[in-house]
């Protein structure tokens, strides 16, 4: 049995990880974007300085400040916390209900919950972009969740304990199947998908699964003088 050689990381491939720049520096492949305005084009960032990057408009001032102030680890929280009151589609009330649902779909363990990983940012952004066609479904569905919560517990969804919220979401998955499935799928997309869309902050779910992140690139599989035979 042939064994693969140790991976060789091409040193010119990316700038070294720099803690003080936080998230933006750790994931150069997934440039931060301004929250308003169309998705920016992927612009090669290798070797560019922070200043260059601000010039091309890929960091909002807030993110830049957050990245600088909080550092890499805190950003998993920072990217959703910073978003409060600043949604593109959702109202604050809708967002709070959606947080309750999403965090039952992907709860926190030693890795963050859906909302802490930016799933709401993902859903909110897509609701004015690719998922515009689901705007009504979200608006009406979240109202129904609130009504269901009031009917079953006499309280708002957002003031329930996590255990009670679990009961409501369980009921939702049975009684309002298509709405629940939509939210479930969008939540998992946000949590496990590409960080470029606002979810999966700092590639947290990929690191949770043990995937190398950033991925190892420029693997040298071959001694080119000998062809592919190892």
């Amino acid at each position: 049995m042939r064994t693969p050689p140790p991976n060789v990381i091409c040193s010119t491939d990316r700038p070294p990880h720099c803690a003080k720049h936080g998230l933006a520096e750790r994931s150069p492949e997934y440039p931060r974007r301004t929250f308003d305005g169309p998705p920016a084009q992927l612009i090669p960032l290798r070797g560019t300085s922070m200043l260059t990057r601000r010039k091309v408009g890929q960091l909002t001032r807030r993110q830049f400040m957050a990245a600088g102030a909080l550092g890499g680890a805190a950003l998993a929280i920072g990217c959703s916390a910073a978003r409060q009151g600043d949604w593109e589609f959702l109202s604050d009330d809708q967002a709070r209900i959606l947080v309750a649902i999403c965090d039952q779909i992907v709860p926190a363990d030693d890795f963050p919950s859906a909302s802490a990983a930016g799933v709401l940012t993902y859903i909110d952004r897509q609701l004015v972009r690719h998922y515009r066609r689901y705007q009504d479904a979200y608006r009406d569905g979240l109202e129904r969740v609130q009504a269901m919560s009031r009917k079953l517990t006499g309280q708002d969804m957002t003031s329930l304990s996590p255990q009670q919220q679990f009961q409501i979401v369980s009921a939702l998955s049975r009684r309002d199947h298509s709405f629940f499935e939509m939210v479930r799928n969008h939540t998992l997309e946000g949590y496990y998908g590409s960080p470029r869309h606002g979810g999966n902050c700092d590639a947290v779910s990929w690191r949770m699964l043990g995937l190398t992140q950033p991925p190892v690139r420029g693997r040298a599989q071959y001694d080119l003088r000998r062809g592919s035979r190892l």
Binding site: M1, R2, P4, E29, L42, P44, Q104, I105, V106, P107, D109, F111, Q126, H130, F166, V169, S173, R184, N185, T187, L188, E189, Y192, G193, S194, R196, H197, S205, W206, M208, L209, G210, L211, T212, P215, V216, R217, G218, R219, Q221, Y222, L224, G227, S228, R229, L230
Partner: protein, 550 residues
């Protein structure tokens, strides 16, 4: 606009090859492509927006806006569907077509795959037929495709393939961990595993470097440009001759006809929305099975009131793809080594010869999985959400192997493409309407194949398996779509002759997967390219200066 010798509609697997072959032979060619020309810089590695996971749209076309289709479900209800939805049956719309973002498995069909009716007899209700050409007719062109496109792999372990004169031009990539787990298991079962063929550089080839084995492979453009499609092989060579002009973002509207029933050229809508006419001596339609049929059906004229080549109502029929079935195995040790492309080992023991059933297919391990592709592939009893789902993701993402295969679909005349009478696309053209299904015997062999995949995984040590074998209500005709302009000798049940030349008209050709009579138990890209080389060869040999004489 200057008159040219040939207009080729569609710059995909077949169109690229045809453009290259004709322009090398000295013909003046215009190659029309409705999509854009993407380069390696457009490789965005976007898990949610690529050609495989399309929840946020297709990365390489068509866009969701302005490109609808209509799907008629089994109860006869029409649904308007978007390109990012599965029932749309999308391939891609860009230079390179599907070959820009495909997984790049590059198979030859087996000799029996060209003689399905003779081998099995046609099941009642099916439209199963033999090809008018054989494996031997295509063999030299398979070889040419393997060397010009660039294929790596090793057939040494496979006793079932047809005769071949030369080995593949490149050795296989070194085995990944799944290969090392599955190979001894297959041998213990008496099967014949081998390194599957890939249109991917394992060593420097054609002036480009080898695969760097990243995680973003099937569904993505290759960042290292190590994946070989028509966009980085034959199309640049066609352009380099100086005889070929590639016009992107140009949508063919119809084939123009003169009073005598000859094609005059192609009317198309250019990137700025203007209607243009490109006159030519011959027209080659290479738009993939669904879109080629649509162009022919949209080309109505006094002499062809039902569309080009459609005198006997054959255009659009026998739509087929592949019925993918298989199994997921879950292991108590790590099987994932983060090495693309992932798919590495295949068996062809089950392509033919299952008693009482018809056809079959190759089985191989699946392309490298992204986490988003794993969320619905967890063990059967896993809750669909909540902490248990998250735990299962953590438990199984790196400890599972998927073995699947493209089961040959047995076509019917009712599984077809027509034009929708109401819905129009952004150019105002009637859109594709997909209806009917393949023959149900397809699903029987699909289930058998899934059990075989499961048995292989269990032998390899899977502690738990789940089967994936459905009975879909629709022809699975996405990236592997084929069959709508069947090749045959009789004009009453086929559209083109053995040289891909439309029976009715003496200067129009359909050269792409549309002509496939059956679709083999393999990914079809290499066969599409081989047919393109084969048909171009006949076309060039019969070319007489400014016209075509058959």
């Amino acid at each position: 606009m200057k008159r040219v010798n040939a207009v080729v509609v569609g710059a995909g697997a077949a169109g690229g090859v045809v453009a290259k072959e004709l322009s090398v032979a000295g013909l003046q060619v215009v190659l029309l492509e409705r999509g854009k020309w993407y380069t390696t810089n457009d490789c965005r590695k976007d898990d949610l927006r690529n050609q495989r996971t399309t929840v946020l749209g297709n990365a390489f076309g068509p866009e969701d806006e302005g490109n609808p289709r209509v799907w008629i479900d089994s109860k006869g209800v029409p649904h308007t569907v978007l390109p990012s939805e599965g029932t749309y049956q999308n391939d891609a719309a860009c230079v390179g077509g599907g070959t820009l973002s495909y997984g790049a498995q590059a198979w030859r069909y087996m000799p029996q795959d060209f003689r399905m009716r003779s081998t099995y007899g046609a099941p009642p209700g099916s439209s199963l037929e033999d090809w008018p050409i054989s494996y031997d007719d295509l063999e030299p062109f398979y070889e040419k495709a393997e060397y010009e496109i660039g294929i790596s792999g090793d057939f040494a372990g496979d006793p079932f393939h047809g005769p071949r004169r030369r080995p593949l031009p490149m050795p296989p990539l070194p085995p990944n961990r799944e290969f090392e787990i599955l190979e001894p298991a297959a041998k213990r079962l008496g099967l014949h595993p081998f390194n599957l063929p890939m249109a991917r550089n394992s060593v420097p080839y054609n002036g480009r470097g080898p695969c760097m084995r990243c995680r973003w492979c099937c569904g993505f453009a290759c960042e290292a440009d190590a994946k070989n499609g028509s966009q980085n092989t034959v199309i640049p060579r066609a352009l380099a001759t100086g005889n070929c002009e590639l016009r992107t973002e140009c949508m063919a509207k119809e084939i123009l006809t003169d009073d005598r029933g000859h094609a005059r050229g192609v009317a198309y809508i250019d990137s700025s929305g203007r209607l243009q006419e490109q006159l030519s001596d011959i027209v080659v339609v290479s738009g993939c099975a669904t879109e080629s049929a649509r162009l022919l059906l949209n080309s109505k004229s006094r002499l062809f009131p039902n569309g080009f080549g459609n005198r006997y109502d054959q255009v659009g029929r026998n739509l087929q793809g592949h019925h993918y079935t298989g199994a997921v195995g879950y292991f108590d040790f790590e099987t994932y080594d983060d090495m693309g492309p992932g798919a590495s080992i295949a068996i062809c023991d089950y392509n033919h010869g299952t008693p009482g059933l018809c056809g079959g297919g190759m089985l191989a391990n699946e392309f490298i999985r992204l986490p988003i592709q794993m969320v619905d592939r967890l063990p059967d009893n896993t809750p669909r959400w909540g902490l248990a789902h998250k735990r299962a993701m953590r438990d199984w993402h790196k400890r599972s192997i998927v073995v699947m295969g493209p089961t040959q679909q047995i076509p019917t005349a009712d599984g077809r493409v027509t034009l929708d009478p109401v819905v129009r696309d952004k150019w105002g053209l009637p859109v594709v309407r997909i209806s009917g299904n393949v023959h149900p015997i397809t699903f029987d062999i699909g289930e058998v194949q899934a059990r075989r995949a499961e048995a292989w995984l269990k032998e390899a040590g899977a502690i738990h398996t789940t089967i994936s074998a459905g009975r879909p209500e629709i022809v699975s005709a996405g990236q592997h779509q084929a069959g709508t302009c069947r090749m045959g000798n009789d004009p009453r049940n086929s559209v083109v002759n053995r040289y891909c030349h439309i029976h009715d008209v003496d200067n129009v050709f359909v050269i792409d997967s549309s002509v496939n009579v059956t679709n083999g138990g393999f990914n079809p890209a290499l066969t599409i390219m081989a047919i393109a080389y084969y048909a171009s060869d006949a076309l060039v040999r019969n070319w007489k200066g400014t016209g075509f004489r058959s």
